[in-house]
């Protein structure tokens, strides 16, 4: 009976959640706070739940076999320069080498950057505005030609300065001092791109507008992987990416299937992070999400490429079966799921009214839609525990059980001049079931102190461009509370916070600082941090920013999101990489 129910649920889920997979796993960093003991592992039979979180499970150097991945959606692009999915920033390293990358280790150690295409981390000038990378000599493309500094420059130009490649982030365009450079498709002369200089074939120099102490994190983005100008076919480049990694493209049918085979021109002596175990890697796109889980559990495929974990039916199956549960890991994702409370919409322009919401919320109820503790840990800070610089604190303790401190909430309401509560709107993406359920839980929570919420649903496609991300619309429609989520593009406080709390990033449309927090002390701290070259001092500043943001009471975290990922027994060399919150795809092998 249970089986039938689970299947019915699975089936229902297939139809209902078809639209949801697309947004899972937008790129980001993160990691876990547990200490990493790398490169040692247990035998398969002894592996327990969460083992791959702290160590390598099924360690093996056995080569051969075909490793099979499946994805329920299709990627934005398999072009490393044109993608914004966390899984793809992880996966694309199989065939592309950025200047820097993350250490191949579980736990905090994995968040340390190591040189990849570069010989050493970037050398920064005294004024903090020039970053220089020397390339390793002798690194070749899969056709045997050598990688040149100009190819890195070209890769940055195409990925950041063209109208055609729009899927990836544009951090280089934002930070590089490039004048009004038109991009390589409109201006074929690369010399006109002044933001990057290549004094010789092995030196790449980045010229910045302002000091940016975390530039090595940007250099770890796959956009810095070299692309020879002659081989660039624009949006079609994803069909035949030129490889520098251990695998190369055999065939790529866009939106359908990608096959990778060994790249014989990859030299392991130049690469400290990757392995080359399977003979062949096959990726199927647009597969039935529920069926992916069943195929994983049956061992017919090895990895769900999205890295966002099992669907609800799959989870239900795992929770009820101790043996199956031992084959899963439950890492943090880079995502914080939260509400932003507008500082402009009445009566939330009064901080005490915002505090009332913070105290009255039943965070156990708002955790439930994410799948309970397996789906996320109750949050109290803006940064997630896997962000470098994170410090735990709770400014609005809402009861020992997190179910709300109603007395405190009523005190805050009185201080706000609304002792009997008030009416307000909460905005939510109507096609995201979990977020709607969170809004409903919040509605029930706040009703206990007289705050009557009306849920306003908007389509997620235009959420940021037309609705919650458009301050005008927010003010006009009195959207006091907005349910949202954020995952960092690189695992530092700056990477996490800058886009969502910096008052100077409040945009007329596509705004992520929906609470419209414009606190000069927050803005100054962000500036100070990003100019601080000492990492320890810098990370301390990110913790201060977090504190300031929470003091505004405009940011209310619900959960630090977690996933439940399945680890088939025929998958070898498995560990959760903290930078992506999923398995390190460059290490995996398959038992034959």
């Amino acid at each position: 009976m249970r089986k039938t129910n689970a299947l019915a649920l699975a089936a229902l889920g297939t139809v209902l959640t078809m639209g949801l997979a697309a947004c899972g796993g937008t790129a980001g960093g993160g990691g876990n706070t547990s200490s990493g003991n790398n490169a040692t592992g247990d035998a398969a039979s002894a592996a327990k739940h969460n083992d791959a979180y702290t160590k390598v499970v099924n360690p093996s150097d056995a080569k051969g076999g075909t490793l099979k991945y499946a994805l329920s959606d299709e990627p934005d692009s398999m072009d490393p320069g044109n993608t914004y999915y966390a899984w793809n920033w992880n996966f694309s390293r199989l065939y592309s080498r950025p200047l820097m990358t993350y250490t191949a280790q579980p736990g905090e150690a994995g968040l340390k950057l190591v040189p990849d295409l570069a010989e050493a981390p970037g050398e920064v000038s005294a004024d903090g505005k020039t970053w220089t990378y020397k390339l390793k000599k002798g690194i070749k493309y899969d056709d045997g030609t050598e990688v040149k500094a100009a190819d890195v420059k070209y890769a940055i130009a195409r990925s950041n300065f063209t109208d055609e490649l729009t899927d990836g982030p544009k951090y280089f365009a934002q930070y590089l001092d490039s004048g009004d450079y038109k991009g390589p498709y409109k201006d074929k002369d690369l010399n006109n791109f002044k933001g990057v200089e290549t004094p010789d074939d092995y030196t790449v120099v980045f010229k910045l507008k302002a000091p940016f102490s975390e530039f090595d994190f940007l250099a770890a983005n796959p956009q810095s992987a070299p692309v020879p100008q002659a081989k660039d076919t624009g949006v079609d480049y994803e069909k035949a990416v030129v490889s520098t990694g251990p695998y190369k493209f055999e065939s790529h049918e866009v939106g359908k299937q990608l096959n990778l085979v060994r790249n014989t021109n990859w030299d392991p002596a130049t690469d400290s992070v990757r392995k080359q175990l399977p003979d062949r890697i096959e990726v199927q796109f647009k597969q039935n999400a529920e069926d992916i889980d069943n195929r994983l559990i049956a061992g017919q495929i090895q990895v769900d490429l999205a890295g966002t974990g099992l669907q609800s039916a799959g989870r239900a199956k795992i929770v009820n079966d101790a043996k199956l549960k031992d084959s899963t890991d439950n890492p943090f994702t880079p995502f914080n799921r939260y509400a932003m409370i507008s500082t402009k919409v009445k009566p939330f322009d009064n901080i005490d009214c915002r505090k009332a919401v913070q105290y009255a919320t039943d965070k156990v109820a708002t955790q439930a839609p994410w799948g309970g503790p397996l789906g996320g840990e109750i949050g109290t800070t803006a940064m997630t525990p896997t962000t470098v610089g994170y410090k735990a604190f709770d400014l609005y303790p809402n009861g020992a059980d997190h179910k709300g401190d109603l007395a405190k909430a009523k005190e805050a309401l009185a201080a706000c001049g609304q002792p009997n509560g008030f009416e307000a709107n909460v905005a939510v993406r109507g096609d995201r079931t979990k977020e709607v359920q969170v809004a409903e839980a919040l509605q029930a929570s706040l009703d206990r102190v007289g705050i009557k919420l009306t849920i306003k649903k908007y389509p997620s496609g235009d959420w940021s461009a037309q609705y919650a991300g458009k301050p005008d619309f927010v003010h006009k429609n009195n959207l006091g509370i907005m349910i949202a989520g954020w995952g960092a593009d690189w695992p530092s406080g700056f990477g996490f916070l800058s886009q969502i709390v910096d008052g100077r990033f409040i945009k007329a449309s596509g705004n992520y600082n929906m609470m419209e927090l414009n606190d000069p002390s927050v803005n100054e701290l962000l500036d100070k941090g990003i100019q601080t070259t000492d990492a320890t001092a810098r990370n301390e500043i990110w913790a201060q920013v977090d504190q300031k943001v929470m003091e505004s009471a405009a940011f209310m975290p619900f959960v630090y999101e977690k996933t439940l990922i399945f680890r088939p027994s025929n998958l070898t060399n498995v560990y959760v990489h903290p930078a992506w919150g999923m398995y390190d795809y460059t290490w995996l092998g398959v038992k034959q």
């Binding site: 089986k3 039938t4 299947l7 019915a8 699975a10 089936a11 229902l12 297939t14 139809v15 078809m18 639209g19 697309a22 937008t26 499946a70 299709e74 934005d76 692009s77 914004y84 195409r158 063209t162 109208d163 055609e164 490649l165 729009t166 899927d167 990836g168 982030p169 544009k170 365009a173 390589p184 498709y185 660039d232 076919t233 624009g234 949006v235 079609d236 049918e253 866009v254 939106g255 359908k256 199927q284 647009k286 597969q287 039935n288 529920e290 069926d291 992916i292 069943n294 195929r295 559990i297 049956a298 017919q300 495929i301 496609g461 235009d462 940021s464 461009a465 037309q466 886009q499 596509g510």
Partner: protein, 351 residues
């Protein structure tokens, strides 16, 4: 008398005129369908206040700059007047279209249904690529459901009230009631992942690559899809047969001393088949436009999977392309059915 046309073969002329008339009607129908689809996906959002930038923002990355969004607006021609956009689409079908990939232009020869907003691939080659999977699925399932459905219906009607009849109709009721994504996942779970008799989801292989694998991978989808339709056809056939068997001409046929098998097949079944054929044509035509649920459940990359993903991703050119493609098959199937009427039922004349 059949086969004895008057001089000048007006019979053939009638057939040709009929076909020409129907083809013209079909082309007009497709034009109307394309305009209606275009209006649903382009006109209505505009009328509701959607800006070209708002539309374009769906096809760029998460943090697209205003310049990138403007770039997408221009590249996808979203700022053109709607009539110009429709004109470009229509022209593309007849004369082909060019498309900027960045450093070079991609040519899309006629019939060009445009380029996907989401992955920049030309729509027509994608459709052609997806068609064999859908054809394999639909035709295989159609044979299965027509043969089993009609046979069970006939037997049930002849043995009305028997255990066999009741059992068959109960199973048929279940078939009609159970959704494909349920029967599909159950069959995969039992036959693929537990018993290991058939391969699991996502194992469809083109017949040209590996015929054995093609067959094995399609058995479960065929049965799942056919189960639904066979149930419906069994019930229809049974009802039709019961009605026909009570007609006067059946009694006359029996009175003439014809064998019972001849009475059933030549007289009763032939009359029953007419409405069945009508529905069969529509069903098959619809399925050739994509068996959305079956293809999604079994991860078969067919036309149906393509369109459901396109709708999900607001991929307007693909939605338009598939709609026209599907409409074409439905119109074609109807045309064939109309012609077959004349063959099956002598009372129907093409004029």
């Amino acid at each position: 008398m059949p086969g004895s046309d008057p001089p000048g073969h007006p019979g053939r002329t009638i057939v040709v005129a009929f076909i020409v008339r129907r083809v013209i009607a079909a082309v007009l129908m497709l034009a109307v369908v394309s305009m209606a689809t275009f209006a649903i996906f382009f006109l209505i959002p505009r009328a509701l206040g959607q800006t070209p930038e708002g539309m374009a923002s769906r096809y760029v990355g998460r943090d697209a700059t205003p310049e990138a969004i403007q770039g997408a607006v221009k590249r996808l021609h979203l700022d053109d007047p709607l009539i110009v956009q429709y004109g470009r689409f229509a022209k593309g079908i007849v004369a082909g279209e060019d498309y900027s990939l960045g450093p070079k232009k991609a040519e899309c020869p006629a019939p060009c249904f445009g380029f996907s907003f989401n992955n920049n691939q030309p729509v027509w080659p994608t459709l052609v690529d997806r068609l064999p999977a859908t054809l394999s699925l639909a035709l295989g399932a159609a044979v299965l459901w027509l043969v089993t459905g009609v046979s069970i219906g006939v037997v049930s009607a002849l043995k009305r009230g028997s255990v066999l009849d009741r059992a068959a109709m109960t199973v048929a009721l279940a078939g009609v009631s159970l959704p494909i994504y349920f029967t599909g996942l159950v069959s995969l779970s039992v036959f693929a992942y537990t018993l290991g008799i058939f391969p699991g989801g996502g194992s469809y292989t083109p017949i040209t690559e590996n015929p054995v694998m093609w067959f094995q991978a399609l058995v479960l989808p065929w049965i799942t899809l056919a189960f639904l339709y066979a149930a419906l056809y069994a019930r229809l056939t049974r009802a039709g047969m019961l009605e026909t068997m009570g007609e006067d001409y059946i009694r006359t046929a029996r009175a003439k001393g014809l064998k019972e098998s001849t009475v059933v097949t030549k007289h009763a079944l032939r009359a029953t088949l007419t409405p069945i054929l009508t529905i069969f044509g529509l069903d098959l035509g619809l399925l050739l436009g994509g068996a959305v649920l079956t293809e999604s459940t079994f991860s078969i990359q067919g036309v149906g999977k393509l369109v459901i993903d396109a709708i999900r991703g607001n991929d307007l050119p693909v939605v338009l392309g598939v709609t026209l493609f599907a409409a074409f098959f439905i119109v074609l199937a109807n045309l064939i059915v109309d012609i077959l009427y004349a063959v099956v039922d002598p009372r129907v004349r093409l004029s």
